[in-house]
């Protein structure tokens, strides 16, 4: 069994790092997943006037202040993209592309993604539409599959599917594919919607359509309910209470992913509340 962390924080924006710092102050074994640059949104802000204590600071300067704070507290950031958080009852399993981690409690501070689902995507999910081509490959033996790839990592799954399916159509949304196998039919276009009857049957592009038995949508950022299967979501945000608890015991959320307003101080405050409640939860579990 892998070493179990007390607390795993997913996201390195203001909510995530505030949560991590408060977890570390309370002597918990903490791991943070995110980016060394912390948050693209913070980094790119031209000027910030509403973060208490910092008037007229640029986003990049604020990021540096955050980084120094983390350094002083010896909080490191693991640069792996979290694919899913599984609530296994007594603990959580957190999986990335290559690794799996365990934690007693989890705080999701993943921000918000503005990528909308395709029309029909949710309706046909599990009825011909999927998010994990490698998982579902055996079902599409000798069938035709269309794969929409939001970033280069999707190419690997398309290549894998080619070993099984009779035909693989790949629609890259990031420009020309780099490592796609010969035999995969690459179609450039913008997907509009998924159509079908009882099952998904067709992916409609702005200038074309592709009939397929299976349609896979492989995104660079995972939707919140894909990230945490079974979590309660409303209007694309986690449903949380005043303690930042979600419907899953031991799982907390903080920052933009819990809803508006999308502000740094609100995020940092929520991260702190989430961390302190997670600490009580962890103490009660031991």
């Amino acid at each position: 069994m892998s070493d179990r962390y007390d607390l795993i924080v997913i996201g390195s924006g203001p909510a995530g790092i505030s949560a991590a710092i408060n977890g570390v102050i309370r002597n918990k074994k903490v791991k943070v997943f995110g980016s060394r640059n912390l948050s693209e949104k913070v980094q790119k802000a031209p000027r910030v006037d509403n973060y208490l204590g910092f008037h007229g600071i640029t986003g990049n300067e604020l990021k540096d202040v955050f980084s120094q704070h983390l350094e002083k507290m010896q909080v490191e950031i693991t640069e792996e993209k979290v694919d899913a958080v599984y609530a296994l009852g007594k603990y959580f399993a957190i999986t990335t592309k290559d690794n799996s981690y365990e934690a007693t409690s989890v705080i999701v501070a993943s921000g918000v993604s503005n990528k909308k689902s395709l029309e029909g995507e949710n309706e046909y999910l599990g009825k011909g539409v999927g998010y994990c081509a490698t998982c579902d490959a055996p079902i599409y033996k000798n069938k035709k599959v269309a794969i929409v790839g939001y970033d280069v990592h999707a190419e690997e799954e398309a290549n894998f599917m080619l070993d099984v399916a009779s035909e693989v159509v790949y629609i890259p949304l990031y420009g020309q594919p780099e490592k796609i196998k010969d035999g995969v039919n690459v179609v450039l276009g913008r997907p509009l919607r998924i159509e079908g009857n009882e099952k998904a049957e067709r992916l409609v592009l702005h200038n074309d359509h592709i009939d397929a038995d299976g349609i896979f949508i492989l995104k660079d950022s995972v939707e919140l309910d894909q990230l945490v299967p079974g979590v309660q979501i409303e209007d694309n945000h986690f449903v949380v209470n005043r303690k930042m608890e979600t419907n899953i015991e031991g799982l907390y959320a903080a920052g933009d992913c819990t809803g508006k307003p999308y502000q740094y101080l609100k995020a940092a405050g929520e991260g702190q509340v989430a961390a302190l409640n997670a600490v009580s939860f962890i103490d009660n579990m031991q």
Binding site: A84, L125, G126, G130, C132, C135, P138, P229, G230
Partner: protein
């Protein structure tokens, strides 16, 4: 947890006197691995009330196709030979408990 095949599905699932929770899975599916321990816990917890079995979709394409399983893991609850409820993807244990309790 019992493995059910294309050949034994009717006998084990359709003709079962108890409700049956069927986990459709495949060896290389990551989320399926996460569901397995949850299914095992449910199997013990509901011992005598429901049956919990698994079907490898890779080796049993007929039943998977007949039930239109297009994503795995898919977990289907059968009662009196009919699929009554289904969940696509991993879910925490109490979601399955709710689904089972509704049909007991």
């Amino acid at each position: 947890m019992k493995e059910v095949m294309d050949a034994t599905f009717v006998e084990e699932v359709m003709n079962s006197e108890q409700p049956v929770l069927v986990d459709f899975w495949a060896p290389w599916c990551g989320p399926c691995k996460m569901v397995t321990p949850v299914m095992e816990e449910l199997d013990q917890q509901y011992d005598g009330k429901i049956k919990v079995v698994k079907v490898n979709v890779d080796e049993n394409p007929e039943i998977s196709e007949a039930l239109r399983i297009t994503s795995i893991p898919t977990i289907v609850l059968f009662k009196e030979g009919q699929p009554k409820d289904a969940v696509v993807g991993f879910r925490p244990k109490n979601d399955f408990e709710k689904m089972i309790d509704k049909h007991l």
